[in-house]
C-alpha cells in the first residue's frame, strides 16, 4: 500500500491519504481528471475496474466516492474521494469515457444529488421523472408531498438531454443534445412487457429490423431504499436486501450482515457461516433455475418453464421449512442466522443433490442442444472480455465472456475458502455462453452443497450482539457473489444508530448498462433474448 501511496503522490502531489479498510485517496476536483487517467492507464497503477461509484452528501460538501479494483494486481482495491463545496451547481469531471460502467452510475448520482458531470455525454435523470423537484438523497431534501405529488398525467418522452463541455479556457459550456436523431425510427418496449423481466423500458431505434441504439428508461420500481435506510437502525435496514434482488435474497442479506459485522469486529460462529453458505448456494440454484425457465419461455419454449419450476419448488420447500417463507426469507441477522436448521434440512438437501444432476441432463436434452435455441443464442449479443471488464459485468454474464471475476474466489468470505469448487468460464462471449455458465454453475453449487451437507459444525448459530447496534465512525465496503454478479454494500457511519449513508452496488445495474452495446447490430427480436440471457432483475437496478 505504501508503494501505491508513493506512486499516486508522485503523479498528483495535492492528494491526501486516509488509512482505513481500504486506502482512501482524497483529491481536489481540479486534479481529479488527471489522476483518473493515471489510475486507468498508468501501468504501475492499472486500476481497470470501477467497482462502485457512490454519491455522497457531507452537508458542507457534495461529492463522490469511487472504489477501484485492479484485476492485474490480485484484485487490490483503492477508494478515491472527490468533493465539491458548491451546493448550487456542483460539478465533477466525468470518468465515463475511461470506465464505461460510470455512464449510468453518474446519471444515478446526478439524479440523487444533483451533481453534474463535466464531459458526460447524456446528463439526464435516471430513476425519477424529469419533472421531479429536488434531489432526494441530499440531506436537506424537502420531502413535502406538495412539491412532488403523484402526477397522474403521462410523462413526456424525454428526448432532450445535455452535456457539459469544458472549453480550452476552463469555462464550462452547456450543450443541448438529443437522445435520438430526427430520422431514427424508435420502438418502445415496456414498461409493462412480459419479457423485460419486470418493469424495464427500452426505446430502441431500428433500421429495418436491425437495432441501432437502445435507450434504457429505468425507475418504474424505484422505491428509494437508500434514503429509507438512512432513517432506520441497522437491524431494521436488513429486510430491504431481500426485496431488491429477490432471486439472491440470501446473498444480499449476507453481504449487508457481513459489512455490519466487519464494522463491529464481530466473529460469526462457524455453524452460522456454513449455514449461510449453504443457503446462498441453494438460492443460486433457485435463481439459475428461474433464469433457465424464463430464458426458454422468452424464446417460446414454454415447457422448459415447467421443468425449471419443478425443481425450484424443492428448493423453496427447504427454505420454507427452515426460514418460514418461500420468498423474502429474512433469515440472516447481524452475527449469524435467525433460527436453527429444520430437522429435515439435511434429508431435503440430499434429495435435491440427487435430483439435480438428472434434471440438468434433462434440461440439456430438451433445450440446450435444441437447434432453435442454439440459432437464437449462439453469436447473439456479443460482449468481449475487454468490454465486460470496462462495463464491470460480473457474475455469470461476465464469466460467459471468459472473465474470471468470481468474488467467492477473488475475495473469499465466510466458509468459501474451505470448499472446493471450480469457477465456471465460457469462451463464447455470446448469449449461449452466459446461459451455459448458469447451467454449469448449478452443478458447482450442488458440489458445494455436497461437501457441506454432512459437515455442518455443531455450536452457536448467532454471535453475541449488543442490544443497540452502533457502528464506529468510518466507511466499509463489502462484496459477495450474488446470483447475477458481485453485489456490494457501502456503509458510511458517523457513530450513530443509523447509517449516515448506505449504498447498494447492484450487479444488475451494470448488466442493463450493456444493453445498448450488445443489442446494436442485432435484430429487434434478439433484444428479448439478449435481455433474458443477461438475466437482470429490475428491482435490483432501481432499488
Amino acid at each position: 500500500m505504501a508503494n501505491i501511496q508513493e506512486k499516486i503522490s508522485k503523479i498528483c502531489p495535492s492528494v491526501t491519504f486516509e488509512e482505513g479498510e481500504t486506502l482512501l485517496v482524497s483529491v481536489p476536483e481540479k486534479d481529479w481528471r488527471m489522476l483518473a487517467v493515471a489510475l486507468k492507464e498508468n501501468a504501475d497503477l492499472n486500476f481497470d475496474v470501477l467497482t462502485a461509484l457512490i454519491g455522497m452528501d457531507w452537508k458542507d460538501s457534495l461529492g463522490v466516492i469511487y472504489y477501484f479494483t485492479s484485476t492485474a494486481r490480485n484484485w487490490e482495491m483503492l477508494s478515491v474521494k472527490v468533493a465539491v463545496e458548491d451546493r448550487e451547481k456542483p460539478m465533477i469531471h466525468t470518468v465515463s469515457d475511461l470506465w464505461k460502467v460510470a455512464n449510468f452510475q453518474e446519471r444515478e448520482v446526478y439524479d440523487f444529488y444533483g451533481i453534474e458531470f463535466i464531459g458526460h455525454p447524456d446528463m439526464r435523470r435516471f430513476f425519477l421523472r424529469n419533472d421531479w423537484v429536488g434531489y432526494p438523497l441530499r440531506k436537506d431534501y424537502d420531502a413535502n408531498p406538495d412539491l412532488n405529488p403523484i402526477r397522474m398525467e403521462d410523462e413526456e418522452n424525454e428526448d432532450d438531454s445535455h452535456t457539459l463541455v469544458e472549453m480550452p479556457d476552463g469555462s464550462i459550456k452547456r450543450v443541448e443534445t438529443k437522445v435520438f436523431a430526427p430520422e431514427d425510427y424508435v420502438v418502445n418496449i415496456g414498461p409493462q412487457h412480459p419479457s423485460t423481466h419486470g418493469v424495464m423500458r427500452f426505446r430502441a431505434a431500428i433500421d429495418g429490423e436491425t437495432v441501432t441504439k437502445v435507450d434504457v428508461v429505468s425507475g418504474y420500481i424505484h422505491r428509494g431504499i437508500e434514503k429509507l435506510s438512512e432513517g432506520m437502525t441497522y437491524p431494521q435496514t436488513l429486510h430491504f436486501t431481500d426485496r431488491m434482488d429477490y432471486m439472491s435474497a440470501h446473498m444480499n442479506r449476507h453481504c449487508l450482515c457481513m459489512c455490519i459485522e466487519k464494522a463491529l469486529g464481530l466473529e460469526v460462529p462457524k455453524r452460522a457461516q456454513v449455514i449461510r453458505v449453504m443457503m446462498d448456494e441453494l438460492m443460486r440454484i433457485s435463481s439459475h433455475l428461474l433464469a433457465f425457465g424464463c430464458t426458454s419461455m422468452d424464446m417460446g419454449a414454454t415447457t422448459c418453464f415447467f421443468y425449471g419450476f419443478r425443481e425450484r419448488e424443492m428448493v423453496l420447500d427447504i427454505f420454507e421449512k427452515t426460514c418460514g417463507a418461500r420468498m423474502s426469507m429474512n433469515y440472516n441477522v447481524i452475527g449469524g442466522v435467525i433460527a436453527d436448521l429444520h430437522p429435515d434440512f439435511v434429508k431435503d438437501v440430499k434429495a435435491l443433490i440427487e435430483v439435480m444432476p438428472k434434471a440438468l441432463k434433462e434440461y440439456h436434452k430438451v433445450f440446450s442442444g435444441n437447434v432453435i435455441a442454439k440459432n437464437r443464442m449462439v453469436g447473439v449479443g456479443m460482449l468481449s472480455k475487454e468490454d465486460a471488464i470496462n462495463y464491470d459485468i460480473t457474475g455469470p454474464s461476465g464469466r460467459g465472456s471468459n472473465w474470471s471475476c468470481d468474488t467467492r474466489k477473488k475475495h473469499p468470505y465466510s466458509a468459501y475458502p474451505d470448499v472446493q469448487f471450480e469457477e465456471v468460464l465460457e469462451e463464447g462471449c455470446d448469449s449461449y455462453a452466459r446461459y451455459m455458465v448458469r447451467m454449469r454453475e448449478i452443478e458447482e453449487s450442488v458440489k458445494i452443497l455436497e461437501q457441506l451437507v454432512d459437515n455442518i459444525p455443531e455450536g452457536e448459530i448467532r454471535a453475541q450482539v449488543p442490544k443497540i447496534v452502533k457502528l464506529p465512525a468510518g466507511r466499509w465496503y463489502q462484496q459477495v457473489e450474488a446470483s447475477r454478479g458481485a453485489f456490494g454494500v457501502y456503509i458510511e457511519s458517523t457513530g450513530e444508530k443509523t447509517p449516515y449513508r448506505l449504498h447498494f452496488q447492484s450487479p444488475c445495474f451494470n448488466l442493463v448498462g450493456v444493453m445498448d452495446l450488445t443489442c446494436r447490430g442485432n435484430m429487434i427480436a434478439d433484444l428479448i433474448v439478449i435481455g433474458a440471457a443477461l438475466d437482470f432483475v429490475i428491482p435490483d437496478i432501481d432499488r
Binding site: P136, A143, P149, G198, I225, R243, F309
Partner: protein
C-alpha cells in the same frame, strides 16, 4: 322475503371466513328484486365470467415470481380457468397488481386499467400494493393502489403464498358470481364516481 345467502353451488358460504362483504353486496343487489328470466341469464353469464378470469401480466417485483409459481405445475392456476395470463390489457379481465407502485408507474397503471375491457376487476396483491408495505414512507412510493384504482380484493402478505393468492382469486370469483349485469347496480357509474372522488385526493400522497 328475507334475502338468502348467496347460493353459489361450487363455493359454499361456510367454506369462507369473510362473508360480511359478500352478504352486504347481495343485499344491495337484491334490494329491488330480480326478474326470473334476467336473473337466470345473469347466472349463466356470471358462471362463464367467473371461471375464465384472464389476468393481465402486471408484476413489478417479488410477488410476480410467486405469481409465476401459480402458473407452474405445482399450483396450476388452470384449475380456476385463470392460467391464460395476457400481455395486453385489451384481452384481460382483471389486473392483479403484484408489487410496489411508485410515482413513475402510477400513470402507467391507471392507463392499463383504463384499457381493460368492462367488466374489469383489480386485485391488490401483497403488502406493497395494499398499503405501500415496507416502503410506505418513501418519497416516491404510492401508499396502496386503492389511491388510484378501485380495488376489488386485497391479498396481504410479503409476498403472499400461492394459496393466499388462490383464496383472493376465489373471493373475486364469488363476487362475480353474485353480481348482476342486467338492470342492477351499474358498475361503470360507480367507477366514474370513484375517479371523481379520488381525483382531488391523488395529489396529496
Amino acid at each position: 322475503m328475507a334475502v338468502k345467502s348467496p347460493a353459489i353451488r361450487s363455493m359454499k358460504h361456510e367454506d369462507f371466513k369473510d362473508n360480511a362483504y359478500i352478504d352486504s353486496l347481495v343485499e344491495e343487489l337484491n334490494a329491488t328484486g330480480a326478474n326470473v328470466v334476467v336473473g337466470k341469464l345473469d347466472q349463466l353469464i356470471n358462471w362463464g365470467r367467473a371461471n375464465s378470469l384472464w389476468p393481465l401480466c402486471f408484476g413489478t417485483s417479488c410477488c410476480a415470481i410467486e405469481f409465476m409459481c401459480l402458473g407452474a405445475a405445482r399450483y396450476d392456476m388452470a384449475r380456476y380457468g385463470a392460467e391464460v395470463a395476457r400481455n395486453s390489457p385489451r384481452q384481460a379481465d382483471y389486473i392483479m397488481v403484484q408489487g410496489t407502485i411508485v410515482h413513475r408507474m402510477a400513470p402507467v397503471l391507471r392507463r392499463l386499467y383504463e384499457q381493460l375491457a368492462e367488466p374489469r376487476y383489480v386485485i391488490a396483491c401483497g403488502g406493497c400494493a395494499v398499503s405501500g408495505g415496507p416502503f410506505k414512507n418513501s418519497y416516491c412510493v404510492l401508499p396502496g393502489v386503492d389511491k388510484i384504482l378501485p380495488v376489488d380484493v386485497y391479498i396481504p402478505g410479503c409476498p403472499p403464498r400461492p394459496e393466499a393468492m388462490f383464496y383472493g382469486l376465489m373471493q373475486l370469483q364469488r363476487k362475480i358470481k353474485v353480481q348482476k349485469f342486467f338492470g342492477g347496480a351499474n358498475r361503470k357509474e360507480k367507477i366514474d364516481e370513484f375517479f371523481a372522488k379520488h381525483s382531488s385526493e391523488v395529489g396529496k400522497y
